[in-house]
Amino acid sequence: MYQFSGKLKTLSIALIILGALGIAYGFYSAPKTVEEAKEIIAHQTSHGDEHATSHDEVKVDAHKQDAHVAVEAHGAVEAHGEHHDAAHDEHVFHQLQNKPWSALYVALFFFLGISLLVLAFYAIQRVAQAGWSVVLFRVMEAITANLVPTSIIMVFVVIAAVMHWNHMFPWMAEGTVTVGHENYDAIVDGKSWWMNVPGWAIRSIVYLAIWNAYRWFIRRNSIKEDTANDGGKIYKLNYNVSVGFIFLFMITESMMSWDWIMGLDPHWFSTLFGWYVLASLLVSAVTVIAFVTIYLRSKGALPAVNDSHIHDLAKFMFGFSVFWTYLWFSQFMLIWYADIPEETTYFVARFNEYKLPFLAMVGMNFVFPILLLLNSDFKSIPWFVVIGGIVILFGHYVDVFVMIMPATVGAQWSFGIAELGSLLFFLGIFIYATFSAFAKANPIPKGNPFLEESEHFHYYNIEHRGEGSGDHH
């Protein structure tokens, strides 16, 4: 049995505390009134650095948006004088107020999504009756333990949105569906059969409930498998439940991406968005499995894992990186090519105000992994996989960042204490949840009928360390 070392426990708790302080600082430094927001912006402008230009961009952008709203709401273009300035200040104030919430939300969604996709990957391994991955089952199960705390925090964020403690979801604002109200938005009103607060909240809770129910069930029954000796009865039950979960997962994952991410831009829609979110989280999930596996193996906790298992994980990292790029580009190129204004605004906002992260993400998520992990030998060298994986994980954090931030904080984005704090906070929770769960069960799933095959899994052109050509048979 693996022992959750005191050092690692201290590290995770330190990360949680440090992260919580960062998050608290983010909320503390957010403006409480429009006047404070003005002061912050004026302070930024006085520096005369890049913030000044970004501020100008905001003005232009906000002006356009105001015009847009005015056309829709009043059916006539109004002159923008004093009214515009006030509206602009209000707009920036809301964006600055959204900052700490968005920082928390990006990191939360990233870690929640990774844990969820590890669970889905695990279910797929069971359903596919994969022979190679059985020795990694306990690693995957341990990572999914992180689903519980992140789900609890997600429930809190859902409640916060419903209670109007934050303004991340613009369609939740007061009056968006009340005809004649100054916030009335005909487009949101047209979608209100789906985008309404009770429906959104209930769906959110249902997704989390389904995922956590499967996790709880499969973890319990996977441990039961170890000592079952019942002719594969529990194994078959786990198989059937996993089939059902994958079905429900595909539906809930799509709807989750509409509700939690696409809902941040209520005027925009994209049909392959659910797949795109899935691909981003899937490649991150496989990378995290590889990381935890490599770490635990280096501690001697996974005696059955050999270089071929690492090689297979790296192949998945490589393949899903390309898959992500395919979906990212398909979404981008279709919208760029047709250039329909209602769709294009999404990328205009990202390309104007998030150029560096938007472009760097493609380098980190596609070019780097493709060049690093193309070589078959490199895929079985742990430190290569770790280097590739670090870039992939940062790249997909940036991906989630660029999905969420432009909708909630617009040009007011930065990567500061609140964002870093949120990352560390959830990283601490992840480490604690994962390794304490791994310490609670036998690291080898003894009852699985494919265990023997998995222990002898061998990819043909790999010389495992300490092997000669005589071992290749």
């Binding site: 580009f329 190129m333 090519y337 050509s469 048979h473």
Partner: protein, 175 residues
């Protein structure tokens, strides 16, 4: 000349063949060739063959294809006749790059795949109307054949091969 003689040892099981190859290698005898009806996993490792470099050539062919696609799209669409087609920006190649990605991808794959296959044919000397080189037709069906050159040690090799479970051993003159 003695060295033009070879021994053909026949086996009817790939497991037995693998053990035989290892036994022959252990005696530091040179194996000229092994003929199999299907790929035997690990045979190349047991024989000590160098790994293939075909994948490396494919990588460079792919890069060639990518460069060709970039050159072609840039020359045709940007340099030679930059027409306004449906409002697509043609001020520079980068401005219109997303529209070129599908052809860049396809040409990369096309070059990598076809040139690699042609390389494979050339390196393994395969072409239509090529005369088949199998020393015994049974090696395409259910027998495995190991060919060992003889250097005045015919009896010694034969004794070793009998021990490894060969079902038939022939000494053949190679022209």
């Amino acid at each position: 000349m003695e060295s033009s003689k070879v021994i053909h040892a026949f086996y009817n099981d790939d497991e037995v063949l693998m053990d035989a190859v290892k036994a022959v290698k252990a005696e530091h005898l040179h194996i000229e060739e092994v003929f199999c009806p299907f790929p035997v996993h690990g045979l190349d490792k047991a024989m000590g063959l160098a790994p293939t470099r075909l994948a490396i050539t494919a990588f460079f062919y792919g890069i060639t294809g990518l460069c060709f696609a970039i050159w072609m799209t840039n020359y045709m669409m940007i340099q030679d006749w930059p027409q306004d087609i449906g409002g697509k920006p043609n001020f520079s190649w980068f401005a219109n790059m997303p529209a070129f990605v599908p052809i860049m991808f396809e040409l990369t794959v096309f070059f990598a795949a076809h040139l690699m296959v042609i390389t494979f044919y050339m390196r393994s000397r395969l072409w239509p109307f090529k005369e088949a080189e199998n020393p015994d037709p049974r090696t395409t069906d259910d027998h495995f054949l190991m060919e060992i050159p003889v250097n005045n040690n015919e009896a010694e090799i034969t004794a070793l091969l009998v021990k490894t479970g060969a079902v038939e051993i022939n000494v053949v003159d190679k022209h």
